[in-house]
């Protein structure tokens, strides 16, 4: 039984409760104020703006940490609090409040966003030091943190939508940060556009929820989800999934994520790996009661997750651009989380735990990639790397830890949390459970292969550098965040999973699942964990044979048709172009000429001859006016025809 089904979230007043929760809005206000100062302040803030942004992000982190402390001081049944800020809009029976929901799930996200976010702010101080647009960059980063906090702290779907599109805007601005590059501008627009398709789904889901429940606040909607009937909840669930697919780059709305790597690397780490792209998983877990009342929608969620986890992994295997290989990996890892989120209560904690550890090791990997690029004149082609482990020892060490974590090396973070997902998949039972479980296992093997490929091509083997490359270790401000993230990549998994600590912590927000007695021995000796280990070893070994023992050619070999397909991102872009872009262009052209020639045509034809006013005046009495009258009559006739079909 979910605790919020029993009661509405507890209202918070400053007098009765600690001051942190009642001022939770400050968590959002800090980075928002930072963004406002940086974006409106102009050049005056150039000298210190980036430090202001770092400070604001850290302030939000402190607030999130204090909120956690206060939350832990409460009885678990009371760990869901709604903080009223102000009334946003109202019309008829619809009222939308700016209310913040403080519960274990939202605080987990707030900590991840502000924690990893602050590290990436610090990293960017060094990474963007030479960029003339650094102030604008930090303004956008602060804006992103604020919007993402709105997304996860909202206590109703409309406020969530505000954050949802807000992070979309920040993502758009940051992908296209180097606007003078046409490729960046196109990638930014593409990301926003594909996301809008998903947003359309979310928007329709919101309308349907209001039409069904008469409210859009989480608590009452979830409380009556069962009563709505599975037809309605299935439709709502599928629409929410569409929104999640856009934001989290899941099939079929995945095509924007690889192009999004046009943005500066810290952006790829924060937005397109650790936080924003996981918002879809958040949405599904948060809307758990809807999905639990809609088994079909849940099934579709798991299928989407499984398909994306394999597709992303396959793409990751073939990309030579280090950031795009990592982006394929992100798709794949979020596929794991989506799969788990679709399993219902047994998968929620596993999904969110993997989301958190992934946030650490993937952010670390991206920052490592950025560090390599920083030292290699912004080269991204791994075929131009090789043997970098001696030139960049800190980067090598931290990247290596992230690598071990993501492939599921025993006792590192990824091992704990990925194991949780695989186990939950098999535990969900039936043929579906078997298929999902084996997809997850296969994915583990692929992950080991493509990540080892990245590792070997970058840090091992012969030096295939460009003539003018002089790799060097990055400055302290960049390596320090990498070290912190590496520590998380090592330890966080055990902290969260050992003894089901995290699952129990999340219970007040996502509901309880059955836990058998926790035992490290069973975890180590279970057949799933041993199989995953075998798949991992096989993946590493295969990569070692191909990319460490054999020399890596400087130009990519042609490859089999599978390689070519993976390089082309499994033709997702081609599909979009053929299905939507070309027909769309044809439709637009046809509509423009229809408007000119048919709707407006009569007018243009006659009036084209008119040159000066006197002649125009003369013609006005002859053909000119008549033609206008004709076209107006046509318009009016259409109106009348449509309006007055059986008027009299």
């Amino acid at each position: 039984m979910l605790s919020y089904l029993a009661a509405e979230p507890h209202a918070v007043t400053a007098a009765a409760d600690g001051v942190v929760h009642s001022t939770a809005w400050l968590m959002i206000a800090y980075p928002l104020a930072g963004a406002a100062v940086l974006l409106l302040g102009g050049r005056r803030t150039n000298a210190w703006g980036h430090w202001l942004a770092v400070a604001m992000s850290l302030a939000a982190f402190v607030w999130a940490a204090l909120s956690l402390v206060q939350l832990l001081g409460l009885d678990p049944a009371e760990r869901s609090r709604s903080v009223h800020v102000y009334e946003w809009l109202t019309a008829g029976s619809l009222t939308i409040d700016i209310n913040l929901l403080i519960d274990p799930l939202s605080i987990t996200f707030a900590l991840l966003i502000t924690g990893v976010g602050s590290l990436i702010h610090i990293y960017s101080v060094g990474y963007m030091a030479e960029d003339p647009g650094r102030r604008r960059f930090f303004g956008y980063l602060n804006l992103f943190v604020a919007a993402m906090l709105v997304l996860v702290l909202a206590d109703n779907f409309v406020l969530l939508f505000l954050g949802w599109e807000g992070v979309g805007l920040a993502s758009y601005l940051l992908i296209g940060f180097w606007q003078h590059k046409p490729s960046a501008a196109v990638a930014a627009k593409k990301a926003f556009l594909i996301n809008r398709v998903g947003d359309m789904g979310l928007l329709i889901a919101i309308m349907l929820m209001f039409g069904t429940f008469g409210t859009l606040a989480y608590a009452p909607v979830f409380a009556s989800a069962d009563a709505a009937g599975s037809a309605v909840t299935t439709v709502i669930g599928l629409l929410l999934l569409l929104g999640a697919c856009g934001k989290s780059a899941q099939l079929p709305l995945q095509a924007w994520l690889l192009d999004a790597m046009e943005g500066p690397t810290p952006v790829s780490a924060l937005i397109h790996a650790a936080t924003m792209v996981t918002a879809g998983v958040y949405l599904i877990v948060r809307s758990g009661p809807i999905f639990e009342a809609a088994p079909t929608a849940q099934l579709v969620v798991t299928i989407v997750g499984a398909a994306t986890l394999l597709a992303g992994a396959v793409i990751g295997c073939a990309k030579d651009d280090i950031k795009k290989a990592l982006a394929g990996s992100t798709m794949s890892q979020i596929g794991y989380m989506t799969l788990a989120a679709g399993l219902g209560p047994i998968g929620y904690a596993a999904a969110i735990a993997h989301l958190v550890t992934h946030g650490f090791f993937k952010a670390g990997l991206f920052l490592g990639a950025g560090s390599v690029m920083h030292g290699m004149n912004d080269e991204v082609d791994m075929r131009r790397y090789g043997g970098l482990r001696t030139a960049m020892p800190v980067t090598f060490a931290t990247f290596g830890i992230g690598y071990l974590a993501i492939i599921g090396f025993p006792f590192l973070s990824g091992w704990w949390t990925k194991e949780g997902i695989i186990e939950a998949a098999f535990a969900s039972g039936g043929v579906t459970g078997q298929v999902l479980g084996w997809a997850a296992l296969l994915g583990a093997g692929l992950t080991a292969f493509y990540m080892s490929r990245v590792m070997f091509m970058t840090f091992f083997g012969e030096r295939r550098w460009a003539a003018d490359a002089h790799p060097h270790e990055s400055p302290r401000s960049m390596t320090l965040p990498m070290v912190v993230l590496a520590v998380g990549s090592v330890a966080l998994g055990a902290v969260l999973v050992y003894g089901y600590r995290f699952a129990l912590f999340l219970e007040p927000a996502v509901g309880a699942a059955e836990h058998h007695e926790f035992s490290l021995a069973t975890l180590l000796t279970s057949w799933t964990s041993l199989t995953a280990l075998a798949f991992m070893v096989a993946g590493v070994a295969f990569a070692w044979v191909r990319y460490a023992r054999a020399p890596v050619p400087r130009t990519a070999p042609r490859g089999s048709f599978v390689t070519v397909a993976a390089r082309n991102e499994l033709y997702g872009n081609t599909l979009n172009e053929e299905l939507f872009m070309r027909p769309g262009q044809a439709l637009t052209a046809a509509a423009v000429s229809f408007d000119e020639k048919v709707v407006d045509g009569v007018v243009d034809g006659v009036a084209r001859g008119v040159r000066d006013s006197s002649e125009g005046l003369r013609r006005m009495q002859t053909g000119f006016a008549r033609s206008y009258a004709l076209s107006m009559l046509f318009g009016a006739a259409v109106v009348v025809a449509l309006l007055g079909v059986n008027l009299v």
């Binding site: 809009l89 930014a188 009348v640």
Partner: protein, 536 residues
Amino acid sequence: MSIPWLTLAIALPALGALVVALLPRERAELGRRLTLGVTLATLLLVVAMAFNFDPSGPRFQFEEVIPWIPRFGVYYAVGVDGIALLLIVLSALLVPLVVLAAWRERDDNGGTPGAAGSADAERAGSGNGYFALILLLEAMMIGVFAAMDVFLFYVLFEAMLIPVYFMIGRYGRGAERRRAAVKFLLYSLFGGLLMLVAVIGVYALSARSGAGTFLWADLVGADGALAGLDPATARWLFLGFFIAFAIKAPMWPVHTWLPGAAGSSRPGTAVLLVGVLDKVGTYGMLRYCLELFPEAARWFVWPVVVLSLVSIVYGAVLAIGQSDMMRLIAYTSVSHFGFITLGIFAMTTQGQSGAALYMINHGFSTGALFLVAGFLIARHGTGAIADYQGVQKAAPLLAGTFLVAGLSSLALPGLSPFVSEFLVFVGTFAFHPVPAVIASVGVVLAALYILWMYQRTMTGPLPPALSRLRDLSGRELWAVGPLIAVIIAFGVYPKPMLDVINPAVEQTMQQVGVSDPAPALGHVDQAANGGEGASE
């Protein structure tokens, strides 16, 4: 003794127009300053009036009723409800900004004898004629929203054509402006003619029992002079008004005058044309079509909903296909007006409140878009999208304001147009899911037309031809800055506007005899009371 707020707000710019028009040609600078002064004074007056408006008071406030042509029951009757009040505030806000934007624009009379611009005149900027027309138009705009007499409304509705005709045809841009002005005039006159017939019809029918009247308050309601009208007659009269309003709005398929008119206008004229004048059409639907002929309005719901959906999708697709910025923005408005009419005819509280708010917010967002596009055109002399690239590099402020205005046009949450569009969606869905789902395609198309335009003009490498493009000047910032500020402020806190709109909408719904459908999981007795709109 109460202050005649509305009469003052009409008289002030009207007098100003007279004075500015009579100024000698050499005194252009004085004329400009005077115009700005008068429009700012009017804005202050209107804002003061708005603060005196009591949202919990009677629906119509600041009413003045003076017999004008007693023989025919014509009155000078003015008064505002929340919706009219906000539209008046919007007009009074936009006019000074337009004046600022037009400050240095040259009168380009393209070879008309006697008006060829000398070097002096070119340096001097806009002449008194244009500013006098703006002031005259402002007086009429305030009047048309304040009118409480159908005849007075009709007279102002038609009279507004005159200043606009000259603002496009004489002071517009490009070779096509005369043609565009004539087209605008003929379309509007045609609509006006139909409306005149309907207005006379209303008067004649009101005389069935007792003396005929044009007073709106005497016509509407269960015991009004139009009560018990034969349905067929009411539907014809509805159509007379509706077609005039649909042309003005503009609604597909009578929209084709707008792109030409906006494309041939000065940006300031386009702001007033699309930002305010077109709202007279949607405002008229809400106030006159719905309330004078409630039964007919309910009867016409589905045809109007279909036309609205066509407008939304068709306008957006056409916007995507445009190669000229001004025309592109004009087509986005066809799409946006589709949302407004959709919200009105959804016949739900959320739909109509959203539509009313949409009228205001659209004025902000499209006004800002037209202004910034105008600044760009003033620098480089062309509106063709293909002539621009990488402007962001040379003029970051200009690009930034353009982006914010564009984002508000695509209804990004956090900016004011989102609130209205969201309400229209929710209200339409409550009426029927299918139109709401079709309309939501507009959400995706809006992202495409705005961001593609931004990408083509503002991003990419800066070509040498544009390398010396100036960024926004202080005056230009003052023109567009207030709009950006209200777009953000009312996006975050729209309550002040909704507080005055909601009571007016509730009364309108009552007048039309419709009520909101109950949610699917609501109480059964509520569902039984569901209005016409809820029958599905």
